[in-house]
């Protein structure tokens, strides 16, 4: 899959028009966007690898790094899931189909899918962390026979905060996927699990020495998940995390996203745990 270098270089946004908007939760929306300047040019404008992110420019407000949450096989549009947490993303949430957005990228490293072939694949997501992993799920399902068991383990604040709720139900119903979700709390009408994500990891029926884990979510969630994976016997080299820092230029020049020896925008966001474990969880980094 080619990494795109847009006309004018990586610092120049390309124009995309929003074609679809879907409300996931009260503060989170998924947008599909099609290129304006080179429509129909396929992967040349919409290609990406699962795990990569783009810089989305909301004209008049600013730019934010957002992971791509769509199907890599879909060359008609790029798909992003945005939670309204700051001024730019709040304005983003108000966009509608037809509105224009600037897109730079995709940037950064990808989930190592080739390395996952022949292994049990554990996708452990917390909150909005399911978005960057959804592209992986699409890819694995498109080539299901290349992988052993697939586990989708998802933690959320409550049932109302579930991302991609319809798809979670579909994945849960499939015989070739173990898809489990847990929430931090729920009303008494909830018949699913309540508790921390580590419980799902502890109970999952995978083979530790033949497993690879992709983990994405809030940093504290990733820390406890890594501890549980290690307790289960998954090797550090087979644990991959998606890190989030303050990405600005997205090409490793500005230094805003430096994390110890790496720039998260360029060397990450997907990083192997054993390569950054000494910095992971360090206060202030």
């Amino acid at each position: 899959m080619p990494t795109l270098e847009p006309p004018g270089g990586a610092m120049v946004p390309r124009r995309f028009r929003i074609t679809q908007k879907r409300r996931e939760t009260p503060d989170t929306y998924t947008f599909a966007m099609a290129p304006v300047d080179h429509p129909g040019s396929g992967t040349a404008t919409t290609g990406f690898q699962p795990g990569q992110f783009s810089m989305l420019y909301l004209f008049g407000y600013g730019e934010v790094p957002i992971s791509i949450s769509g199907d890599p096989a879909n060359t008609a549009a790029l798909v992003y899931t945005v939670r309204a947490v700051g001024s730019v993303t709040h304005a983003f949430a108000a966009l509608e189909p037809g509105d224009m957005v600037g897109v730079r990228g995709p940037f950064g490293s990808a989930w190592p899918l080739a390395q996952a072939e022949g292994k049990d694949v554990l996708l452990v997501a917390g909150g909005l962390g399911l978005a960057p992993l959804r592209s992986v799920i699409h890819s694995v399902l498109a080539n299901r026979d290349r992988y052993r068991r697939l586990f989708i383990l998802y933690g959320s604040r409550n049932p109302e905060a579930f991302l991609f709720a319809d798809q979670l139900s579909q994945w849960h119903a499939r015989a070739d996927i173990t898809c489990e979700a847990t929430v931090d709390y729920a009303g008494t009408g909830w018949t699913g699990r309540v508790g921390v994500i580590t419980e799902l990891v502890r109970r999952a029926d995978f083979t530790p020495d033949q497993a690879i884990a992709f983990v994405c979510g809030p940093e504290m969630m990733m820390r406890v998940t890594v501890e549980e994976l290690k307790k289960r016997g998954v090797a550090d080299r087979n644990i991959h995390l998606s890190l989030e820092r303050s990405m600005k230029c997205a090409i490793g020049h500005c230094g805003h996203c430096q994390f110890g020896p790496v720039f998260v925008c360029k060397d990450g966001p997907i990083l192997r745990y054993d390569r950054m474990q000494t910095h992971f969880g360090v206060t202030g980094l």
């Binding site: 939670r83 959320s156 699913g192 508790g195």
Partner: protein
């Protein structure tokens, strides 16, 4: 079920893995099989913690009142321990426990077991080594849930 059969079930249960046979026999004398139907309440907050359960199969919701409404703060499943309050004075249940689906347990008479633990400290120490990690694990989980890591301000 006969005591000697329950003793075998206890010996095979992962929670009691490695417990000496004599101890399995001793605690089997305080246990019995129990079954709870969907929505049946196993105990309520404030009740005496005179029974604890090892869930053999099922799904139990632990509920607390928050702002006048019950909320589920934890669910327990196959292999989990229900009602660890039996080891801590004043031996009162800390929440409501409700079966979300048909649930089968080994139910232990806590007062009976406390007496046996007091009479045989080796048994008591072995059981405490099994229960303390359960209590600490739940404390850690509660801390994590209290931090609200997926809360509204989280981009993750």
């Amino acid at each position: 079920m006969e005591t000697h059969q329950l003793e075998d079930v206890i010996a095979r249960d992962p929670f009691f893995h490695g417990l000496p046979k004599t101890f399995c026999r001793t605690i089997a004398g305080c246990g019995q099989h129990a079954r709870f139907e969907k929505d049946e309440v196993l105990y309520r907050q404030g009740d005496p913690a005179d029974v604890f359960h090892v869930i053999r199969h099922g799904h139990v919701a632990l509920e607390l009142l928050a702002a006048g409404k019950p909320h589920i703060y934890q669910t327990l499943h196959d292999g989990d321990i229900l009602n660890a309050a039996w080891v801590v004075p004043p031996y009162r249940c800390h929440s409501n426990a409700r079966a979300v689906e048909t649930t089968v347990t080994i139910a232990f008479d806590a007062a009976c077991l406390r007496e046996k633990c007091d009479a045989d400290h080796d048994l008591g120490y072995d059981l405490m080594k099994r229960f303390v990690p359960v209590v600490v694990g739940r404390l850690n989980s509660a801390r994590l849930q209290a931090t609200d890591v997926y809360g509204a301000g989280s981009a993750g």
